[in-house]
């Protein structure tokens, strides 16, 4: 599961996700990609599930890039706990994703294979996403 090796502070406030992904919204490595159409948080479990779905489908055939990283901790209070007494322990890690962000890129697959692989991955994510391919504007 993806998570940072070192962090400066153990817990973070939730914050808000405003605007669109002006960075990381163009294909940088592969020929095909999966782009987020909405904003939200993707947990490391979702990213891992999507990664496994893609690599299993590719069967060592192509190359995969994961363009997001879950570097934000989220906390959760234990069950049946009264309110107060401080913030709960860290439960997991999420990637803050804005609309337009490229989530995954693949290379070395045919168009149909890439579409299928990324569609399988899209089903593991809690955000709407779309398949994109390299065009003249991605130079």
């Amino acid at each position: 599961m993806l998570m940072p090796k070192k962090i400066k502070y153990r817990k973070q406030q939730r914050g808000r996700l405003r605007g669109k992904a002006w960075r990381g919204s163009r294909l940088a490595f592969g020929d095909y990609g999966l782009k987020a159409l909405g904003s939200g948080r993707l947990t490391s479990r979702e990213i891992e599930a999507a990664r496994i779905a893609i690599t299993r489908y590719m069967k060592r055939g192509g190359k995969l890039w994961i363009r997001i990283f879950p570097d934000r901790p989220f906390t959760k209070k234990p069950a049946e706990t009264r309110m107060g007494k401080g913030k709960g322990p860290v439960e997991g890690w999420v990637a803050a994703v804005r609309a337009g962000r490229i989530l995954f890129e693949v290379e070395g697959l045919t168009l149909a294979e890439a579409q299928k692989a990324l569609s399988l991955a899209a089903h593991k994510l809690c955000l709407r996403s779309t398949f994109i391919r390299r065009g003249p504007f991605d130079a």
Partner: protein
């Protein structure tokens, strides 16, 4: 290539308000610069820019830019901004081109054929660089470089100096030893990994806190004590 004509209108009002109004009216804000002249804010038809970008030479197409009341000039698309979600054009930069002056351009590189290392040995063809930078006259800009990869075996590569470049017209600016395409063995990832990761997850490996000092340790201990207290 030269016959393409793009009509532009000068923009009087600048700033995001005016630019957004223009976009709503179906025009595309753009700027023209270079050629030892002042830059000029203009607006163009987005379709015209798309036609250039989707042409064979793509963004290296030299076309005639006709600005209302300012005359004609040969130009190229130098840069562009896209809307991240819909992928529509937001702004374009045009560069005035002097047809007798050499300029630096990035020419796309495409592969042809299926590599031997992929077909027979199960490798992956990896494209490291999709563009090669060259210096040439605007009239000599190649549309693309096509590289035949059918003879590439595992761990073999094609470098920038392997490209068929006409030295009398073009000068290669990309490092000549730069690998453009190579065939590599896929890394063995697969099946066992999920099982390993479950173990890691159960161990609740927490990342190291960089500034972990006495204060934080004390805080951590206090917190643990408090959660235990709550459970009770």
């Amino acid at each position: 290539m030269e016959k393409l004509v793009v009509e532009a209108q000068p923009r009087e009002r600048k700033g995001k308000n005016a630019a957004r109004q223009l976009r709503r009216a179906g025009r595309l804000p753009a700027v023209i610069y270079g050629g030892k002249q002042e830059s000029l804010a203009v607006s163009v038809e987005p379709r015209a820019v798309e036609r250039i970008m989707y042409s064979e030479a793509g963004h290296n197409t030299v076309f005639t830019l006709e600005v209302k009341g300012k005359g004609k000039t040969p130009a190229m698309v130098r840069d562009w901004q896209m809307e991240p979600v819909k992928g529509s054009l937001l702004h374009v930069d045009f560069l005035r081109v002097a047809l007798d002056e050499r300029l630096r351009v990035k020419v796309p590189m495409h592969t042809r054929g299926e590599a031997k290392g992929v077909k027979q040995e199960g490798g992956i063809l990896e494209v490291i660089h999709r563009e090669v930078e060259v210096e040439c006259l605007p009239t000599d800009i190649p549309e693309e470089f096509v590289v035949d990869v059918s003879e590439l075996g595992i761990n073999q590569s094609i470098r920038a100096n392997d490209l068929p470049i006409d030295a009398s017209k073009l000068r290669l600016l990309t490092d000549a030893n730069q690998v453009l395409v190579h065939v590599v063995m896929p890394r063995a990832v697969e099946e066992e990994k999920p099982a390993e990761e479950v173990v890691v997850e159960e161990g609740a490996a927490e990342p190291e806190v960089i500034s972990k000092g006495k204060a934080e340790k004390a805080e951590g201990e206090a917190e643990e004590a408090s959660t235990e207290g709550e459970k009770k």
